[in-house]
């Protein structure tokens, strides 16, 4: 065991390098840039023997990677916000060609107004582009999920690329202690990549991605959706394997904290979870029976586990670091509600939105969510969206 102090971005670069990708492509963008820089150092110093392509844009990043994957390679990149938006065209194609890879999204607010700061609007906006998405809480989890990510994405029942999403600045630039596995340990954990459903090879010629009729395309989509469902089991399986190898478990698609005897439940995503946990502890000291669900996987969405975790509770609130236009609520709030369909009337529930464009989600904010939950818990139905913001 080797604990090192490092930023989230350095952690991501080291995690990726430990997985020995054949090819890395990268283009710098705030707040991801130091991932690209650190990977460049590893390549230029000779510490990492991957092919490394510094392209002219994120669109080409994903395209180069797709080409390498179509030649059977393991690949890695990281991006943020506008870069992800520019990448959308090959990004969608990557998942629908069912090509495995791990891509970190250093989450960032979307423009406009002009911003380069934190938020989850970027990754949330592409949650229906066919990728798996996991949101992590701290630098250790960045390390662990990038490594686990390769095992999940390359699993023969899955073959869907995965985003490891971590908060821009709040994690990307935060220095924390990280237990860095040795190369030997990662080599022992992670088998070599192998898939052959979409391969460009003169010895075995095929048309990869031919023009496709609607009937056949529908079969592909159905297979993709079914693989997403299977991935829920694979996520749990890999979590257990990882725990055995490295001694750390994250509970699979969601992580529950003090929910067992709770009346009211706070649901968090990503880096805000640490604050939420403290707020829960403080409220518990005052006798409030509150628990916490950390939503880790957003795709596949853990419908059954959410429903089970909230069963018998009186109230819940979801704190989103992004918005769902047209719902006057956060996107994960609408999805948690959908997961409970039929049981919604029994619960008191509301959406809380904060942390947009780098704004802070403070302990006071989290406490205000718990206080509102406590005050509405006996009034079933939807309550007004709570905006976690300064009054102007």
């Amino acid at each position: 065991m080797k604990i090192k102090a490092m930023t989230g971005n350095t952690t991501a670069a080291i995690a990726a390098s430990l997985c020995r990708p054949d090819l890395i492509a990268a283009y710098p963008i705030t707040p991801q840039s130091s991932v690209a820089e650190y990977l460049s150092e590893l390549i230029h110093s000779g510490a990492l023997a991957s092919n490394y392509v510094t392209t002219e844009s994120e669109h080409s990043v994903m395209s180069v990677i797709q080409g390498a994957a179509c030649a059977g390679g393991r690949t890695f990149t990281a991006t943020s916000g506008q870069g992800l938006a520019l990448m959308y065209e090959p990004y969608f194609q990557m998942s629908t060609m069912r090509l495995p890879m791990v891509m970190a999204i250093v989450t960032r607010e979307m423009i406009s107004p002009c911003t380069v700061w934190s938020g989850q609007q970027d990754s949330m906006s592409v949650r229906d582009a066919g990728w798996m998405q996991v949101y992590v809480e701290n630098n250790q989890e960045i390390m662990d999920m990038i490594i686990q990510g390769y095992m999940i994405t390359e699993h023969e029942d899955v073959l869907i690329p995965i985003n490891v999403c971590y908060d821009g600045f709040y994690l990307s630039h935060l220095v924390e202690g990280v237990d860095v596995p040795s190369q030997k340990e990662v080599d022992a954990f992670l088998p070599a990549v192998h898939f052959n459903h979409a391969i460009l090879d003169p010895d075995n010629p095929m048309a990869v991605d031919s023009l496709t009729s609607g009937e056949v395309l529908t079969r592909y989509r159905r297979g993709h959706l079914e693989a997403m469902t299977k991935a829920l089991d694979v996520i749990d399986e890999v979590d257990k394997k990882f725990a055995k190898a490295f001694g750390r478990s994250y509970g699979g698609a969601i992580e529950e904290y003090k929910t067992e005897d709770a009346d009211i439940v706070l649901i968090s995503i990503g880096g805000m979870t640490g604050t939420a946990r403290d707020a829960v502890d403080m409220a518990r000291e005052q006798g409030i029976k509150v628990g916490l669900i950390k939503l880790r996987f957003v795709r596949p969405f853990p419908v059954e586990r959410i429903a089970k975790a909230l069963k018998g509770k009186k109230a819940f609130a979801v704190v989103d670091r992004s918005v769902s236009f047209g719902w006057n609520a956060g996107p994960m709030y609408t999805e948690v509600r959908a997961a409970l369909l039929g049981g919604n009337d029994k619960y008191s529930h509301f959406s809380a939105i904060g942390g947009l464009g780098g704004a802070d989600i403070s302990l006071k904010h989290m406490t205000s969510v718990i206080e509102k939950l406590e005050s509405v818990k006996s009034k079933p139905g939807q309550h007004e969206t709570l905006w976690l913001m300064k009054e102007f």
């Binding site: 002219e56 180069v64 179509c70 065209e89």
Partner: protein, 301 residues
């Protein structure tokens, strides 16, 4: 072996059932390139006439005897960069990496990715078959469309008459990258074209090779399908499309044009230029002359 013998004896890589228009030069160019390249090849054909004509396959059937992929309109050169890098990594640098793309995928939406791959000197042969427009989707203008052309987005009208801007000279722009090889070719000059494909393939093992091929289009340009080669010949003879190459840092004019024919002879042999005025023709003539003078200067350095 001379070029006729080479083409006569080499295998066609396209499967039966391809549905290009009669007289299509894009098809001719695609088949000739892949004949020369042979089976140890991976080819990318982005959206455009050739993919639309079926070479990228349909449902579970392929349209080629070699591995083929339809990348996006916008990413052919970067996608192929990734394939190429992986093959270098595997010690299989012998495999030909070829893109066959139209002018839209080359000079418009795909230009950024193309320029990036050329700047990185990625190992591939990128061939643009230039039919001067988005012919597959109904002949809309592209940046390589000649000034004055009638297209479906630059129609002939009382207020605006055809395309108003001169064409983007994509091959000369590409040649300004520090690439391995750059050339223009025409199906009317097959010996020259075969030599350039061969050189392009061998140079593509060392870096980025780009060939810009004129591909007259009977359907879009409005001429009889049996006139395609004649039209291409006139484009070269009038200096509308001079034949040249650049390698080892030097430019060479490969088909000298000592007595050029007036551009009028080229322009008047098809329907898309039928509303040109004398002033328009004079301006196009001047542009062709300037283009050739520029190339001559580059070639004499």
């Amino acid at each position: 072996m001379n070029y006729i013998e080479k083409l006569r004896t080499s295998e066609d890589m396209v499967t039966p059932g391809m549905s290009a228009c009669q007289g299509c030069c894009g098809e001719l160019v695609l088949r000739r390139i892949l004949q020369i390249a042979g089976k140890n090849t991976i080819v990318c054909v982005p959206p455009g006439c050739m993919s639309g004509a079926g070479v990228v396959g349909w449902d579970y059937q392929t349209g080629m005897k070699i591995p083929v992929h339809i990348p996006l309109l916008t990413n052919t050169a970067s996608f192929l960069s990734g394939v190429s890098q992986m093959y270098q990594r595997k010690g299989r640098g012998d495999v030909n990496m070829i893109a066959v793309a139209g002018d839209g995928a080359t000079a418009d939406g795909g230009f950024q990715s193309l320029s990036g791959a050329a700047e990185r000197n990625e190992k591939m042969l990128y061939v643009c078959y230039d039919n001067e427009g988005y012919m597959n989707t109904g002949f809309q203008r592209s940046s390589t469309t000649t000034k004055g052309s009638r297209t479906s987005t630059t129609p002939i009208g009382e207020a605006i008459n055809g395309k108003q801007q001169p064409s983007k000279y994509v091959s000369l722009i590409m040649s300004m990258h520090a690439l391995q090889y750059c050339a223009t070719a025409s199906p009317s000059h097959m010996q020259d074209m075969v030599a350039k494909i061969e050189r392009g393939l061998s140079e593509s093992k060392k870096g980025f090779a780009f060939i810009h091929v004129l591909a007259p289009c009977p359907t879009g340009w409005s001429f009889e399908p049996d006139q395609s080669i004649q039209i291409a010949k006139k484009a070269v003879a009038s200096n509308m499309f001079p034949l040249w190459e650049k390698y080892n840092g030097n430019y060479y004019i490969t088909v000298e044009n000592k007595k050029p024919i007036p551009v009028k002879e080229f322009l008047q042999s098809m329907g898309k230029f039928k509303s040109l005025t004398d002033a328009d023709i004079a301006q196009i003539q001047q542009e062709a002359d300037t283009k050739y003078e520029t190339l001559k200067k580059l070639a004499s350095e």
